[in-house]
Symmetry: C2
C-alpha cells in the first residue's frame, strides 16, 4: 500500500516504461525466467510464451498442450497463405496483421447476416452456425477458437461428417459449460494438429496470442 | 482419458448443450455456486460474475476490486448515453451492442491514422497516445482498459494534468511490465470510480465482460 500511495504524487508514474519494444522484451524475459517450459519443444515454447503473455499467468504453461507437429504444420500453412478462421470478432481483432507472413485473410463469419437463420435451422448457437459459412476455406486453414465451446464441438462434428481438414486447430474456448469437454474432444480426435488450454481457462486473447506466435517467430 | 476417447465415436458430443440462453444460465449458476462473492455488494457481484465468466476462473473474485459507487455511477452514465472509450480493438469488439442501454458509442482510437505520429511525439506507446484523441468525449465517459498498462498510466497523467474526469474507469490491463503498478496507481488516485483486477491478470475479455455487466442487469 505504501508504494501505491506514493503514486498519488505522480513521481512513480513518471518512471513507467513507455517503449513498446522494451516492454515486450522485458515481458518475455520475465515469462522465460518464471514459467516452467521444460516439457515443450523450442517452437512450442515460443508459442507458450505468447499465450502466457496474453493472460499474465505463468502457471498457464501447465495447461497448455500441443498435438504432434502443430507448430511446424500451422507455420507452413500460414507461410503458404492459408486463411485464419476465427470463432469470434475478438479473436479476429487480436490477430496482429503485421505479423502475418502472407497477408493471410482473417475471417470471422459470426456477424454474417445468414448466421442467425442458420443457427435456428441447426438448433445450435450462432457461434457454431457461423462455421458453416467458412465453406471451402476450411481445408488447410488455421482455425482459432477462443470463445465458444459450441463452435469447437460443431467443428469436430463437421470434420467427422467429412468436411476438409484444416492445417491446425487452436482450441481455446473458455468457460463453465462445454469448454472442458470440447477441448477433451479435440484432443481425442487427434487427426488434426491442435493446441489447447486444458480446463475452463482460455479465451480470445490466448487464441489470438497463439496465432500471433505462429504467424512470426519474432519475439 | 476414458471419457475423452468415448468422444471419438461422437456419442458424448451429441449431448452437448447447444442453447445459448441455457449455456449462460448454467454458467452463471455455476459461478454463483463456486465463487466467493460475499464481500461484494449485490450490484458488484453481478459484475464479478460476468468478469469471472469471461476468464473461466472463479478464483479471480479475490483479485477484483471496486471503488465506492463504481457500479451505480457507471450504470447511470451509460443510461444517459455516455460513450464507451476502449484502449484496444479487442475490448471494443467484446462489447455486446445489444446490451447497451442508449445505443452508446463504442470508441477505440488505436488505429486512427494520427496515432503513430502522436506516439512518437509523446515518446509513449500507440496505446497511450491513442487516448489523446478521445478529446472532449472523456468527460463523463466509461473508460475500458483491457490491454495496455501504458494506456492506464497515461490516462492518470491526463487526469492529473486537468483532463475532464470520466464517470468510471475499468482498469484491467494485463501483463508483466506495468500492469500491477498501473492498477495500484488507479486505486491510489481514487478520485474516479474504478474497477480493477489486481495483479498481472486482466485482459480485453475481462474488461469487455465488466462493461457488458454494467450495460445491462440481465444475466
Amino acid at each position: 500500500m505504501r508504494e501505491a500511495h506514493q503514486n498519488q504524487n505522480s513521481a512513480p508514474r513518471d518512471a513507467y516504461e513507455r517503449d513498446g519494444a522494451a516492454i515486450y522484451a522485458r515481458s518475455f524475459a520475465i515469462i522465460r525466467a518464471e514459467a516452467d517450459l521444460r516439457r515443450f519443444a523450442p517452437d512450442e515454447a515460443q508459442v507458450a510464451v505468447r499465450v502466457i503473455h496474453a493472460c499474465g499467468m505463468v502457471e498457464l504453461a501447465a495447461n497448455l498442450r500441443f498435438g504432434p507437429g502443430f507448430v511446424a504444420t500451422t507455420r507452413n500453412a500460414l507461410r503458404r497463405g492459408c486463411p485464419v478462421l476465427c470463432d469470434s470478432e475478438m479473436v479476429a481483432h487480436g490477430v496482429t496483421r503485421a505479423r502475418l507472413p502472407a497477408r493471410n485473410e482473417v475471417i470471422c463469419t459470426l456477424r454474417d447476416p445468414r448466421t442467425p437463420d442458420l443457427a435456428r435451422r441447426l438448433g445450435n448457437t450462432r457461434s457454431a452456425a457461423a462455421l458453416e459459412l467458412w465453406g471451402d476455406r476450411l481445408g488447410g486453414a488455421v482455425v482459432a477458437i477462443g470463445n465458444a465451446p459450441t463452435a469447437l464441438f460443431h467443428l469436430l462434428d463437421m470434420l467427422a461428417a467429412g468436411a476438409p481438414a484444416p492445417a491446425g486447430i487452436i482450441g481455446m474456448p473458455v468457460g463453465f459449460v462445454g469448454a472442458v469437454e470440447s477441448k477433451q474432444a479435440l484432443e481425442a480426435y487427434a487427426t488434426v494438429p491442435y493446441a489447447i488450454v486444458a480446463g475452463r481457462q482460455g479465451g480470445s486473447a490466448m487464441a489470438a496470442g497463439c496465432l500471433n506466435a505462429l504467424a512470426s517467430e519474432a519475439e
